[in-house]
Amino acid sequence: MQRILVVDDEPHMLKLMERIITEKTTFHIDCTSTPLEVPDMLARTTYDLIVTDLKMPGMDGMDILHYVNDRDRWEKVIIMTAFGSMEKALEALSSGVFDYITKPFKKEQIIFTINRAMRWQSIKREMLQMSRAFDSEPYERATEVFKREYVRRLLEKHDNDHGAVARKTGLSEEIIARLATDESAETDS
């Protein structure tokens, strides 16, 4: 399940966020009104998204953003700003915040932004998994495996008629023969 951490020094705001995220999304949400707790919470759990207020004493939204960035953490950060702190918001954007949203905002706005961030995270996760797959096996070999499988299926379909498969694929019968025969050798090695 994808997880969100919401940080705001005003508990009222947290309650509204908790309500809306619970009712309008399937994400798991944790909240804290004490940003100084965030490092501990991040040590325990990896979130997909942190939605944080900008202005808070002790540790503000920018501090949290830097904390995440400096440690190369997985979380994306969305910053909530009060009307009029546009400058800070721009600074946040240049420091790699996913998005910012100006308070007060509509229910639909925050849900839209959160969904967008979560989609981004799940796409990123998929890409990571894929590239991990590619990393584990050299590219040429993956291609070879793919070709062999392709030819095997074709031969099966054409009753092992090498000539017909050669015509169909444009490959020489020699190559087809190699792909068909080398298979066992490959598997054994």
Partner: protein, 848 residues
Amino acid sequence: MRWSRKKAKGADSEAVLAQLQGKFSHFVGLLECNSRSLKTIGDMEEKAQGDYLFDINYIRTSYNDVVSDIDRIITHLSALGDGKYGDLRDRFNTIRKNIGALLPGNKEITRDDYTVAYDSLGRENADSVGSKNAQLGEMKSRLGLPVPEGFAITAWAYRHFVSANDLQSRINEKLSELDIRQYSDLVTVSEQIQAMVVASPVPQDLEAAILRSYNDLIARAPSERFSLRSSALGEDTLFSFAGQYATFLNVPEEELVARYRDVLASKFTPKAIYYLLSHDLSESELAMSVGCVSMIDAAVSGVIYTRDPVEPDNGCLVVNSIYGLGKYLVDGRLTPDTFHVSRDDFLLDHATLAVKPVCLVIDLEGGTVEEPVADFLQKEASLTEAQLRRLAEYAMKLEEHYDCPQDIEWAIDRAGKIYILQSRPLRVLRCGIVASEPDIDTLRVLIDHGTPVCPGIGGGPVYQVRSTQDLARVPNNAVLVAPGPFPGLITVMGKISALVTCVGGMASHLATIAREFRMPTLMGVEQAADLPNGKEITVDACRGTIFDGLQRELIEVRRVDEEIFDDTGIFAILESMLTYIAPLNLLDPTSPEFVTDNCHTLHDITRFAHQKAMDEMFAVAAGVKRQQDVGVLLKSTIPLQVKIIYIDREYDEYASQKYVPEDDMKSLPMAAFWKGIHTEGWPSHTPTASVKGFMGVIGTTVAKGGVNGFSENSFAVLGETYMMLSLRMGYHFTTVEAMCTEDTSRNFIRMQYKEGGATIDRRIRRIKLISDILQEMGFENHSRADFLDTLITYCDCDTIEQKLTLLGRLTILTKQLDMALSTDQVAAWYTRDIMVKLGLKTRDEETA
């Protein structure tokens, strides 16, 4: 000196002008503040509808904006009225004080006894004893329900403890020198403050009061075990957020006072300290009440939901129960028995029994202990049908009393007596039941460009109204369509399902009223005038769209969505503040009730000040006409002597001119009005006056002592966006005042008609004729005999200009018409004739 170099005439004019310009700048300033404050109020109301998330900072900022604008409004008004309206500021300060008390950090601690027994508490005591205590009192004293005996130690007692030990300043001192960088800093300070509180002695009189109440309690309570727990002072305090706080069970008499102090100390959690720091609040925000309650030695405990949370409309309430204390149910350790009981006859519908291997019970040594449940009981129902019936009966009583579904905690002691421990509103969501929002792409859109003024969705048959007169016949649940947001619409807000106006915007008085009623409202929908009466439509004031037909699902889904935030603290704060801000009590400026004393809200103050400012400006501008020697003549082909002065130009700049040319009057509204005069042209003959009518003229004139009125000049006070024209034509005296700016909310036309030449019945007919025509044009009229005062507001600049041109034409068309109005039939004929001429009605409509 400056004046001595000028001719006497110039100096005189300059003084008049300076006064006028001064007042005008106050007038403009007031209109600006008025419009801005209404926008802010409107914005706050919008946020209260449940579509937005906002924080306390938003509330503070918006409220401060409104207050400073209204403060300026009052300053401008008293300058306009030369010091009048001092009592308005008193009203303002009173209202401000009421609102300020609702903001967190400003709450004053209610003076009370140090301790109060539950028997004499009700929910109105929540400010003193907190909601938990107050509610136990309410259930006992008002509803006669069995609740545990107990007493509350009030917030006033807390205050006494704090001030006797000078804790406030000592804690604030600790906080002020704190520069937190780490969570551990907070923990350290929290521990220091808690130690400080625990080391402070409880004042003797407080200690005595606590022990006295304790002894009273022992005398009437069956239990010998008592618990101490805190009771939150309201939704908007820190209590709801501060996290864990101490509850002490099984407290013996000799430890009572010390444990009380421990409960107080437990409030200073690191979270609470952080909150005080980040919001710049003092520790008084942590003021708390404590309850001392007799403990129920529970054989069975559980909760009741008066509606099934999964299926709210199945006609059943749900009872969950386990053996022993309720803790294992609440924290999910055990699966409870579940009973569905009919809400109507309290009979068991069906039961789902669980295996209950253990239970938690009170330990005689203090605290609680887990015990195994006897084998033969583990799979048995933990409640009898008789007990279920009794519980259901209590539960429905609570739902009825609090007027919403409840989530109730209860326990049954070893003697079989039922106790209600707590009841709170149950959030019932019907989202899962109602079909999800219908695909709006499949709905037929009738109009798609309205300005949403109050979000929401409502539907019903169209009912078109043109003016206040039509409102009496508005059917229930109609979608009301009006030409503009005129104030009279407030009278039907209770019965309609949606409101659509052709012109108007966010800042009108009516817009705030619509939001107060949570009425789905669209404004600025020109084509709405073409919607046929009786046609069923659905107004979607979230998207600004009007759909064909009655879309029930759309309306229902929206209703559920609106309620998501209904029971949250911050919405409660905003809503309670808005009750002193938004409602409008002053409706009719001609009513004797339209006085300062009846200003109960900030909106009332703006409404009152706006009206009085218009009156003052009107009086000032109209008063200038008595100054015979001021101003420059208007040069026109129309034979009307009009003298002009400008409020936004230096007198020297134009006083040297002999005339103001009529094609360059440097006043947008005046140019529009004059265009109307020209369109009709000066009539070569007046409508035929009968001899009787003429005699009437002579008679009135003679009675008034001469013909002086004929020679009096007409007079205009002009600005680029302002006009105030006092027009003397024959015996009729017309004053037209108008403002025509980019800001719709500042624009208006006000016209007064006075004094006619003919006999009173003819003059009344003329006033009626003009009223009827003005009403057709969208004006709101107030007429008394032969005096008419009429006003239109919230029109854009183009509309104001068009209406002024029509007024110019109307002025000529009705010139001395009263002579001709010998009967009502003749008057009716003229009314129709003029409406056709002005394009307000077609010939066909006239003959039809």
